[in-house]
């Protein structure tokens, strides 16, 4: 593992969060590309494991970036990865929240919403596909991934049940 350039990571994340319409899943593939392929800080498997661990924790799913920061560089890493989460919210949210209360039906706002939504969804699909390819090496893995998707689409259950079942399947050596 190389020594992480925390300043570069901080600035890159900050820029990403400012354009991350659609939330954390939309920039997941870009964080993966940057950390795994550009900076070589983690392997693809490590990235996927860190993402998975954070899904088990309470709170917003986005905390995987905090866990990644901790893993890379301890407390300094936590600061470098977590501060960028809140800066866009603190600035843009207050400005836009104010404007939106004043002009809820502005044509520009509606055009942005309608135009950008499909791009966001495409990016989130990219995130899911990058993650699926990082964790799966054979057909049994893909089977578990797609079976999970199929069940979740039909049943509303706490995701922890699925993660627990996955852990058991892994320990038993089924996947």
């Amino acid at each position: 593992m190389e020594k992480p350039d925390l300043t570069a990571l901080f600035l890159h994340l900050m820029a990403l969060w400012f354009i991350a319409v659609g939330g954390p899943s939309a920039i997941l593939p870009e964080i993966h590309r940057y950390v795994v392929h550009v900076q070589h800080l983690l392997t693809s498997e490590q990235f996927a494991e860190i993402y998975t661990l954070a899904q088990v924790a309470p709170g917003p799913n986005v905390m995987y970036v905090t866990l990644m920061g901790w893993y890379l560089a301890g407390w300094k890493g936590v600061v470098a990865t977590t501060i960028p989460l809140v800066i866009p919210a603190l600035t843009l949210t207050m400005i836009v929240g104010h404007l939106n209360e004043r002009y809820p039906n502005a044509r520009f706002g509606r055009a942005v919403r309608r135009g950008v939504t499909p791009i966001t969804i495409g990016l989130m699909f990219a995130g899911a596909s990058v993650l699926a390819r990082a964790v799966n090496h054979d057909w049994r893995g893909y089977l578990l991934t797609f079976a999970t998707t199929a069940v979740v689409l039909r049943k509303t259950l706490n995701p922890l049940w699925f993660l627990g079942a996955g852990a058991v399947a892994g320990i038993l050596g089924l996947v």
Binding site: I19, E30, T82, A89
Partner: protein, 183 residues
Amino acid sequence: MESTDSCRRVTKLALFRSFSRITLSSFGGALFWTRRELVERQRWLTDREFVELLTVSQLLPGPNVVNLTVMVGHRFGGFGGAAVGLAGSLGWPCLVVIGMGVLYRHFGELPLAQQALAGMSKVAAGLLLATVIKLAMVLPRHWRPWLFGILAFAGVGILRWPLLWIVAALAPVAVLAAWKEVD
């Protein structure tokens, strides 16, 4: 529907406690718990106000939960309210994931932990895929949005080009095309 007095001030401690409670209850999705606390338990917002704030928070860049926390905190406690809301909402999960980071460093290489993580990570990928499919259902049955979605997917997910390029290239065209549809 009864309306809440959205101008009233709420103490910083109350904001901190509410957002702490929400975040510590939210395993795998905060939406259910957020509505329950803000609308049903505290009655700070009506359902309608909650949905409006939620929509804005989803359209803004950044994590939805963070955006919603900032807006609600700001509305009831000004800038300080937004700050304590965030502290409650992100502080605890931060400590929990750091605890997990410590465990992962020490035990992550053990075979049993590796096997469990391998199984869980395949499930996590499936959970994310299901969420995205559910969201994709809101797209209109029309070729144009799907084209933009597929281009974004191909550029970032398959070609692995930088996200900033893709968004800078696609977003202006997509907004312009949508501009003609909304009037």
